[in-house]
Symmetry: C2
Subunit: 370 residues, 2 copies
DNA sequence: CCAAATAATTTGATCGATCAAATTCTGAGT
DNA sequence: ACTCAGAATTTGATCGATCAAATTATTTGG
C-alpha cells in the first residue's frame, strides 16, 4: 500500500506536479478553478507530502532537539515532562516537531547534538539545566547552531550575550507576589526556606521575598536573617531544617519556599510541630503540591514554550536561522502565576472535610474495561 | 557552511560514491585498503549521512511515535517521563529515535497518528493508557500500522490477539512478592488498598495480594474482605478511606497499595492515627515514594522499553514491519522489582534520625554558578 | 486588433543517500 | 597464457518534494 505522490495527484487533476505543490504551499498563486480541482484530487487520493523528501529538498528539518534528562529529580522531576509537552504543542502549532535524545554525560550530549545537527535532523536545540561556563553553549555558539536555553546563565559576561538566547521564569517576581499575598492576608513574619547560597536561581527568588518584606513590612536585615533558613533540595532535609527553625522560637506566621520539595518538607515539619494552620507556599506547582493541597507558584510552562519559539524564529517568525548580533530580542522573563489552595485540602491537618473527587480516569499503564 | 556529501568523500578518497556508502553500511564487502582510505576521508571531512536523504531512499524513518499525555496525573504522572526516557535510550541503541506528538482527544490522536504515518515520518507507535475497545488500536490494525501497547487490553477477545502486540507489568506478581515479603517479615494481617472494581489492572494486582494471603496465611474470604478497602486514586481520597479502615477496629499490621498515591494517603492516615510503624508498600516507585521514604514496587521501565522494541522488531530484529498472524511472540509480561525503604526515612513518624544526603545537584531550571 | 504586462502553469533540475545492475579486478585452476 | 568464478567497485537510476527558470495563458491599454 504505497502512499500517493504529487505525480499521482497531478495525473488525477490533469496539472503539473509543481501545481500540486503550489496548491499546498502557495495556494494564492493558483487560479480558483485549478485550486478546486487539485484539492479534490488530493482528497480523493488521500495524498500527504512525504516529509523526508520535503526536508531534503528544503534543507531544513523543522525539528527542535530536546535532551530528556535521565535524573530522577525528586518531586520536581515531572516539570520537564510538562515543559516537553508544552514545547511539543507549540511545535505542532508551527508545523514543527520535537525530537528527544538522551545522553550519558555532558560530552555525550555535545556529541549527540553534533550528530543530530550534522545529520540534518534537528534545526535547533532547547537546553535546560544550564550553568555558567556551560560547554554545550560554547559549542553551539562556536558552531553557529541555533538554540534557546530555559534558564539564565547567571554569569556577568553572558547574561546579555545576544548570541545566547534564553527564556526564564521571573522567580524573584513570583516569590515577591506570593509574599505580598501572604502579607495582605495578615502575615507579619513571613519566613523563607531556600537553597544554600550561592545559587543564581535560588538567590534571585530570595530577593523577591526580601523586597516584599522590606517594602511591605519594613523588615530589617536582622529580621530577614532570623526568618530565613537554607536547606538542600530534599523533603527530609527541608523537614529537618524547618523543624529546627520552628524549635528555635523565631516563629514565622507563614512560609515561602524556593521549591515544592522544600514546601513539602516544611509542611511535614509544621504538622509535626502542631502548626496545622501555617500557610506555606512552594514553587513549581508539582503534582505533589496539587495532591496534598499545597499552594505553589506555577511556572506557566506553556508561556515559556511560546517564548522559546518566538526567540528561535526571531522577528520574521517563519524560519529558524542563526541570530546575528543585532537581530532583535534575545531574552525573555516570564512572570509566574500564584496558585492558591485552601487549607481544607490538607488532611495532614486532621480535617475531615474532603469532597469525593472524580475518579482518576487515567494512569498511563492502567486500563478500564468497558 | 554546507555539510560534506558522499560525493565529497568519494572525490577525496578517489572511489565512487557507492563505495563510500558501502564503507558506512556494509564494510565487510570492501577491501581493507579501500576501507582505510575512505574512512580517513570521512574523518578528515567530518562527513555524516543526511538522515532525510537516507529515510527517503530507504523508505523507512526508523522512528517511533509516542503521544505525550497532557493529563497531569497526580503523583504518578512522572512515570511517563521515565518511560519515554527509557524508550529514547533503547531507540538510540538501535539507531532509531522517538518522536513526540500531542493530541487533544482520541479522535485527534488518531488523526495525528495517520498524519505521521502517511507523511512517512513514523514507522510504528507505542501506545499507553489503553482500554478494551480502544479506537486507536482498531484503526492501527485496520491500516496495517505497526504498534505496541504498554498495558494489556483486558478484554476476552483481544488479550491473545497476535495483531495486538503488548507489554505489561505483572502487577499480580509484584503485589504478591510485596505481600510475601511483609508476611516473611512477621505480618499476620496484611491489608489491601486498591481501586474500585472492576479494573483490569487493579483487579490483577489485588489477585496477587489474595494469593499470597491464602497461600502463606490461609486467609479466608471473610478475612480478605475485612482487610481490603477501595478508593479512587487520589491522596486525599485514600487518606479518608484508610482512616475509616483504621477506625473500624479491623487493624491491619501492614498495607499493600495499588499505587503510590494510595500509599501516600495511607501513610498520612496511619500517621494521623498514631500508627507510625505500620509498614506500607506502594506501586510505581514514584519520585514521591522516594522523597518520603515509601517502599514501592518499581515498574522497571527500562525492561519494558527493551521488550517493546523486541516485539516491534520481531524475530529478525532488524526492521519494523507489520506482523503476520504467526510471526512469533506478541505479548510480554515483565516482573516488577520491590524497592524497600527503611522507616527511618519517614520524618512523618516523628523520628529525628535522618542523615544529611548529598545536595540535589540539578533541577531542570536551576543553574549553578561556577 | 495588437502589443505589452502580468498571471498561471509547466519543465528542467536539484536535494543526498542507497538500490540494483553492470563492469572491472583478482585469484585459482587447467 | 588463458579461462572462469567470485570479489570489489562503479554506473545508472531512484526516492518525492520543491527551487528556479521557461513557457503559456490571460488581461489591459492604446
Amino acid at each position: 500500500m504505497a502512499q500517493p505522490t504529487v505525480e499521482d495527484v497531478a495525473r488525477e487533476a490533469n496539472v503539473s506536479r509543481q501545481t500540486v505543490s503550489n496548491v499546498i504551499n502557495t495556494p494564492s498563486i493558483v487560479k480558483p478553478a485549478t485550486l478546486d480541482r487539485v484539492q479534490l484530487a488530493i482528497a480523493r487520493l488521500g495524498y500527504r507530502p512525504n516529509l523526508s523528501a520535503r526536508r531534503l529538498r528544503q534543507q531544513k528539518s523543522s525539528t527542535i532537539g530536546v535532551r530528556l534528562d535521565p535524573i530522577r529529580n525528586g518531586i520536581s522531576g515531572a516539570m520537564l515532562d510538562h515543559f516537553v509537552h508544552a514545547l511539543t504543542e507549540q511545535a505542532d502549532a508551527r508545523s514543527m516537531r520535537v525530537l528527544l535524545f538522551t545522553a550519558a554525560s555532558p560530552e555525550d550530549e555535545i556529541e549527540q547534538i553534533r550528530s543530530l545537527h550534522e545529520g540534518a535532523d534537528v534545526d535547533a536545540f532547547v537546553l535546560t539545566a544550564t550553568a555558567h561556563g556551560d560547554r554545550r553553549i560554547a559549542w553551539l555558539i562556536e558552531n553557529d547552531v541555533p538554540f534557546v536555553t530555559f534558564g539564565r546563565p547567571w554569569g556577568i559576561d553572558d547574561m546579555d550575550d545576544p548570541k545566547h538566547l534564553w527564556v526564564d521564569i521571573d522567580g524573584r517576581q513570583g516569590i515577591k507576589d506570593a509574599t505580598v499575598r501572604l502579607i495582605d492576608n495578615g502575615a507579619k513574619r513571613v519566613g523563607w526556606v531556600g537553597w544554600p547560597r550561592p545559587s543564581g536561581t535560588g538567590d534571585d527568588r530570595r530577593r523577591g521575598w526580601e523586597e516584599a518584606m522590606r517594602e511591605r513590612l519594613g523588615a530589617s536585615e536582622a529580621e530577614l536573617a532570623a526568618l530565613s533558613v537554607e536547606s538542600y533540595d530534599g523533603v527530609s532535609e527541608a523537614t529537618e531544617t524547618v523543624a529546627d527553625m520552628l524549635r528555635s522560637g523565631e516563629l514565622p506566621d507563614a512560609l515561602v519556599c524556593a521549591s515544592d520539595s522544600l514546601a513539602l518538607g516544611a509542611l511535614i515539619a509544621a504538622s509535626s510541630a502542631g502548626l496545622t494552620d501555617l500557610p506555606i507556599i512552594g514553587f513549581d506547582n508539582t503534582p505533589v503540591a496539587e495532591a496534598v493541597g499545597l499552594s505553589s507558584i506555577d511556572q506557566v510552562l506553556n508561556r515559556v514554550a511560546v517564548a522559546t519559539f518566538e526567540l528561535l524564529l526571531g522577528r520574521e517568525g517563519n524560519s529558524i536561522v542563526v541570530r546575528g548580533p543585532d537581530a532583535g530580542e534575545s531574552h525573555r522573563l516570564i512572570r509566574p502565576a500564584l496558585v492558591l489552595r485552601t487549607p481544607n485540602h490538607l488532611p495532614l491537618y486532621g480535617t475531615t472535610t474532603t469532597q469525593r473527587t472524580a475518579p482518576a480516569v487515567r494512569n498511563h499503564h492502567r486500563k478500564e474495561t468497558s
